[in-house]
Amino acid sequence: MRSTYSTTLVLEALSHGYHYGFDIMDATNLPSGTVYPILRRLEREGMVTSQWEDSEVAQNEPRPQRRYYELTADGRKALADTADRYRAPRGARALRPARHSRG
């Protein structure tokens, strides 16, 4: 896997419970034009899976259904592998536990 600093940040955010594109942007401070292509690539490489969230969750908010991203086992492994390279990254340190959960 091509592992850049931004990719590690995105993996880190996913592992901390940020599951939606815009939330990941907030958590990592990366622009949307960076976050989305990284998510697409990770999904292509099997590090991440995505699906539409439960319609019930969306109706309760109320808002349209959002796309929900999740780390796979490979993604977790890749994150563990790259963690050493970017020990305590600046952005990741700022990550807070996510408010949103998958319901």
């Binding site: 939606y20 594109g21 815009f22 942007m25 622009p31 949307s32 034009g33 960076t34 976050v35 989305y36 292509p37 697409r40 292509r44 908010e61 808002r63 349209p64 259904q65 959002r66 796309r67």
Partner: protein, 892 residues
């Protein structure tokens, strides 16, 4: 502010998404829009949940939505790439399908090249590249005594020399030896002889192996009275003791004595120090005795040593060379002409295949290159047909890179098909290697088509794809659409560029094929020379059965003699037996009993005992010479009158006769020989021809024969000449022995022809394989040259048509085409000969009394290839002369 102005940022963001969505591939467009809209809506509602939304939060929503363009662009690019490559692959498959014969031929030719390369690489990998299973295997070496006059012939080590090395050398951490030994085991369904050795202290440590079960030998077990312990091989553990773990600590009777089994060795343990086909199965501690420490004459031990860390092999060689010179001075008659040769364990294990395998790998790579050249020429013919297609595509705007990718994808698809077929070829070839080669090199039994080899096949195929597809791709990168269109419209000769490529292909095919043909020719010549070497005995139907008559039943000479007499009598009753003799040192047998002893001629000055000359001493009966058809040159053989109490007699071979009675007659001379520590006086009654003992390419040896009746001995081989197939009589002969003694193991039962063939097996294997490769190369080159020249002549149809139309004569046309082809063939032959000379050093090590620049072989192979190549040129040239100018001018 109105609602409308409040929602401006939201509407702007959604508008951006609707604009950018056009970039997104249609199949995922709706989902993409839905995802972005949901995120924007969600963000928007979060922002507006605050009491007074800040304008900057709204601007942030817009800013985020601008990122959608990068997302959309990325998706578009990926999709296009995937889509295009898939389309290229589909197109390539369609192109291959359109010319099924050409495609099948290309795949087959490449598959043979790839499969062959993978198969030979598997041997290289197993023997030369993989780590040895022994701990720090690179530090382990075997040490042998070598006669300075025959530096290539490794001999065993005399016990005394081993003790001297061990005392004087500092380059080795451990030096240990193994005395070949066999252990009779009678608790099985039939009596067995298990081969193995008695090993000195540090043997397993030097080899870096610890038993898989149990323990190694303890220091005190190398002393008299404590040494009845044994370590067995994994094979023996499985085969004889049923793989029971409880075997460790059990008592087993070997050779009538009780041994405790203390360990079982790992499965991979095959150091093959005794160079035997049989696996070594039992090891016991060796107690060194005084007479052994003083014995620097009989060279039958194997020595293995572990280098001190950071001491190089070269340093160790230098040290042992100095020690050898000292020993040669100290013991001129026994070690005077000997030196120590160090062979790394890896090279020793690869044994007779070690040198050839590199040559074979080189050969198979040449075959692969030839295959690539052939396929490249096939593709070239295909590409010519498609010239217009590419030109038109360029004219309609296809980029050069796009077309290069198309050609490369085609060659990759072709190579991947060939890779799959090649793996099948490799699988078959590897199985054949295991079948043929593992009796010569035990480690070949471990060959298998594994993931490593599959990756190698893939890499080879990719390399082949690049070689094959490179030229068409390069050509495309240089030309422009206009030039191509113009060229195809007016071409008369096919273009300089292509002609240069054709020339390179023809020259390369001739050169590669010639190098291989010369190599195979030399090996075949060497093999036939060797196979014609006179071993000193006749061939034909001779069975051999080796027994060791020791133990309780054979305590006295009389008991042994009674057994052998009875056995011979019974064997003579087997229908088909002509002669039944006995000998102690059977030529070509695995356990060739090589006893050497001092030799003196009576009446001549006596040198000091340890320093006098020596000969090999063999015990035999008269029928041994008759069964083996050994020529009696002077005097007589043994007779019935040579009884135990009559004058002891001897036969000498002509090598002894020439050395001690040059120009004279040894018959009726008296000699004394040191037979197992006792000097005996013998009267020479005859001279027989000298024999080869180890192999046809090993030197003959001075040998003195004593009569069995006067020299009772227990390690004997029955030598039985039969009227028909000797192998078929072996079961009957075995049962005759067991009728007398059902507990006596038969060490080895074979035929003389099989023994000789076995000694030739490594060379036969290598020669056979290289001949197959060379034949393949010859075929590929011939087909290739024919194909390329046919194609190039076809390309020149228009030019030839014009020449004929303006009155060119048939012979002129023929000369024109042939001259050009002949020039290419000549250049190829010259380069091929140069290549052969360059490879001469490599192949010289594999040849037996054949020069690597043998003029006969060079002339024969060059003529053969040259003539066939010219014939391959002639056929298309001849066809060219029959061109009808009218049709030719209309062509293209």
């Amino acid at each position: 502010m109105s609602d409308r102005s409040d929602t401006f940022a939201l509407r702007l963001s959604l508008g951006l998404i609707r604009t950018f969505k056009r970039l997104v591939p249609a199949v995922i467009r709706d989902e993409w829009v839905r995802e972005w809209e949901a995120e924007i809506q969600h963000k928007w509602s979060t922002v507006n949940r605050r009491q007074v939304p800040h304008w900057r939060d709204r601007a942030d929503v817009v800013r985020r939505s601008t990122g959608a363009i990068a997302d959309a662009a990325w998706l578009r690019q990926q999709f296009t790439l995937d889509h295009d490559i898939m389309r290229d692959v589909r197109y390539a498959l369609r192109m291959l399908h359109r010319r099924p014969a050409m495609s099948a031929l290309a795949v087959l030719v490449l598959a043979l090249g790839i499969g062959g390369t993978v198969a030979v690489y598997s041997v290289v990998d197993t023997l030369l590249l993989r780590d040895l299973p022994y701990r720090d295997g690179e530090r382990i070496a075997t040490i042998w005594l070598t006669n300075r006059e025959h530096p290539d012939e490794r001999d065993g080590v005399a016990p005394g020399a081993f003790v001297d090395w061990r005392a004087r050398s500092r380059a080795f951490e451990t030096i240990a030896a193994e005395e070949p030994f066999s252990f009779d085991y009678q608790n099985g369904p039939e009596p067995l002889t298990l081969v193995g050795g008695r090993v000195t202290e540090g043997f397993f440590e030097a080899l870096g192996v610890t038993p898989m079960l149990g323990r190694g030998f303890l220091r005190e077990e190398y002393t008299e009275g404590r040494s009845r312990v044994a370590i067995i091989s994994h094979g023996a553990w499985q085969r004889i003791f049923g793989g029971r773990e409880s075997i460790v600590g059990q008592k087993v009777v070997f050779d009538g004595e009780t041994f405790e089994i203390v360990g079982v060795l790992p499965r991979w343990f095959h150091p093959d120090l005794q160079n035997m086909v049989k696996e070594e199965e039992v090891f016991a501690p060796k107690v060194l005795r005084k007479f052994e420490i003083d014995n620097r004459r009989t060279r039958y031990w194997s020595v293995v040593a572990r280098l001190v860390p950071n001491v190089s092999l070269e340093e160790a060689r230098a040290e042992l060379s100095t020690i050898s010179s000292q020993l040669a001075r100290d013991y001129p008659n026994t070690l005077g002409n000997m030196t120590a040769t160090i062979v790394p364990l890896r090279d020793h294990i690869a044994g007779p295949i070690h040198d050839p395998v590199r040559v074979l790998f080189g050969a198979v790579v040449l075959v692969l290159l030839l295959a690539c050249a052939n396929v490249a020429s096939l593709l070239l013919a295909g590409a010519a047909d498609r010239q217009r297609e590419f030109a038109l595509r360029a004219a309609f705007g296809a980029s050069t890179w796009r077309m290069i990718r198309q050609t490369l994808v085609e060659s990759v698809v072709l190579s991947m098909l060939a890779c799959m077929a090649g793996l099948a070829v490799a699988y078959a070839a590897i199985n054949a290697f295991v079948g043929v080669g593992s009796s010569t090199v035990p480690q070949l039994a471990e060959l298998a088509l594994d993931r490593r080899l599959a990756l190698f096949a893939l890499a080879t195929s990719c390399a082949a794809a690049i070689i094959v597809g490179l030229w068409p791709a390069m050509r495309l990168s240089r030309s422009t659409a206009r030039e191509e269109l113009a060229a195809s419209a007016t071409s008369t000769t096919g273009g300089n560029d292509r002609r240069r490529f054709i020339s390179v292909l023809v020259v390369a095919e001739v050169a590669f094929a010639l190098v291989l043909l010369v190599g195979a020719g030399l090996l075949i010549r060497s093999f036939t020379t060797l196979a014609r070497v006179n071993p000193g005995f006749g061939n034909g139907n001779v069975a051999v059965l080796q027994v060791f008559a020791y133990g309780d039943r054979y305590r006295t000479d009389a008991q042994r003699m009674a057994f052998f007499d009875q056995a011979i009598e019974r064997m003579r009753t087997v229908p088909g037996v002509e002669r039944a003799g006995l000998v102690s040192a059977m030529p070509f047998a695995e356990a060739n009993i090589n006893i050497q002893g001092g030799f003196r001629v009576e009446g001549r000055p006596v040198p000091p005992e340890a320093e006098g000359p020596s000969t090999f001493l063999t015990v035999a009966t008269t029928d041994y010479f008759r069964a083996m058809d050994i020529e009696l040159k002077k005097g007589r053989l043994f007779t019935r009158d040579d009884r135990p109490n009559s004058t002891p007699v001897a036969l000498v071979n002509d090598q002894v006769a020439e050395r001690f009675w040059p120009g004279g007659n040894p018959v009726d001379q008296r000699i004394t020989v040191n037979w197992l520590g006792t000097w005996r006086t013998l009267r020479v009654v005859g001279v027989v021809s000298r024999l080869r003992h180890e192999a046809l390419d090993r030197a003959t040896r001075p040998e003195v024969f004593m009569s069995l009746s006067q020299t009772p001995f227990g390690s004997m081989t029955f030598v039985i000449r039969t009227t028909n197939d000797a192998a078929a009589l072996i079961p009957a002969l075995r049962s005759r022995i067991w009728e007398i003694d059902g507990t006596l193991p038969i060490y080895d039962a074979s035929t003389v022809n099989a023994l000789v063939a076995q000694s030739l097996a490594p060379r036969r294997f290598v020669t056979g394989l290289l001949s197959v490769l060379a034949s393949l190369a010859f075929l590929l080159a011939t087909l290739g040259i024919y194909g390329i020249l046919s194609f190039s002549t076809t390309q020149r149809t228009r030019e030839i048509g014009i020449r004929i139309a303006v009155g060119g004569k048939t012979t002129d046309i023929l000369t024109l085409v042939l001259k050009e082809s002949a020039r290419l063939v000549a250049v190829g032959v010259a380069l091929g000969l140069a290549g052969s000379l360059a490879a001469a050093r490599l192949i010289a090590a594999l040849l037996y009394s054949t020069s690597p620049t043998d003029p006969m072989t060079l002339a024969a192979t060059t003529t053969l290839l040259g003539l066939v190549a010219l014939l391959a040129c002639y056929v298309p040239a001849r066809r060219a002369t029959r061109i009808d100018p009218l049709i030719a001018l209309r062509a293209q």
